[in-house]
Amino acid sequence: MLDKTIVGILISAIAFVTVYVITPGLINILTKRNMVVKDFNKPTAIMVARPGGPSILAGILASEFALYAFFPSNEILAIIITTSLAFLVGFADDRKVLGGWFKPLALAGSAAPIILLGVYYPHLAFPLFGSVSIPELYLGLIIFMIPVMGNSINSIDVLNGVASGFMTIASFALTICLFIVHNYDIALASLPLGFVSLAFYKYHKVPSRIFPGDSGALTLGAMYGTLAIVGHVEVIAAIALLPAVINSFLFLSSVKRIIEHRQIKAKPVVHTEDFRLMASDDKSAPVTLVRLILATGPMTEKQVGFVIFRLALFSAALAIITAFMMGIKI
């Protein structure tokens, strides 16, 4: 156990330091190559570097390979390969805008290593009632889960610092839940996700110096989904991610089809004269989490971000309660 504690501290440090050190260099490279986008929520024309996915992936790979060197396992390999494939999907979308259906299908394909390496347990565990064996259905769940998690994080990446801050809270909650259900090996493998997100938040928070882009958001979401599957905590992981899931649900139930956010003509959020965010009164605009938060009145970008973080903390608490409930049978 002491060995694992030391390795846990080591890989957490590697994950955090890698992203913390690499990201400023990446910002310079992206800016020199004119790979910048306008930050639409600022009164002046501020250009922000994008995508930050490469530094996020570097942090994940450095720490997971270090963990693999100490404790080799197929679970860690599945995390590394699936996360890398999701990064490639996101990076392709960052470089060239692809259709609304491309990402879910390509992300479904990136779940293949989980199936091929056989690192899943085809039982779905529910709190209080036990688990249910679903051998065939579980394969569908794996293929479904990676795109859902990836796109949920991607869809919540709408304001400075939200995706990385939200992911920091959700992934540390997942780590705590994995410890509660005594899955120490995967808890160890999940540590880098929280520390990578935390280090990236330093540059992503208001005012952002870099955006994660699709490559960053999909990398974080796919790793989270893979951890949920290999850690046998699918239901708990979904609960910790509920604000992002609700955002996707609200969006899909209002537009009623799978499309990219950039294809939406009517904006759900507009600006006041002093450039605070305000819910749009356009009835054709999609309903989103940010629009609902702003329904009570205009707020600054930072204030909206903190409301989302409070929602993330609430979901994290529900996920931890659920993890404790896993040990109780009625």
Binding site: L124, F249, V287, L292, L311
Partner: protein
């Protein structure tokens, strides 16, 4: 507090996940279908998968109704 209805919505979603899981594990999973010979396990799986999918659709409809109920004022705003 800002976003209070959303906290409530998350809580309802959580309760529905727990309740739905209970229904799946304690009622649907123990069901077994016999009388089709070698096709027993296949038909058993198909029926259970069908019930699970109906439950998912029902769950989405319930969430959608609750969303409209909780956020009615916000959305019309």
């Amino acid at each position: 507090m800002k976003g209070t209805p959303i906290f409530f919505y998350i809580f309802v979603m959580w309760a529905l996940i727990i309740g739905g899981g209970g229904l799946l594990v304690s009622i649907i999973a123990p069901l077994s279908i016999h009388g089709f010979g070698k096709l027993d396990s296949l038909i058993d799986s198909v029926v259970k998968a069908g019930i699970a999918m109906v439950l998912v659709v029902l769950w989405i409809l319930v969430m959608s109704k609750i969303k409209n109920w909780i956020f009615h004022k916000q959305i019309s705003h």
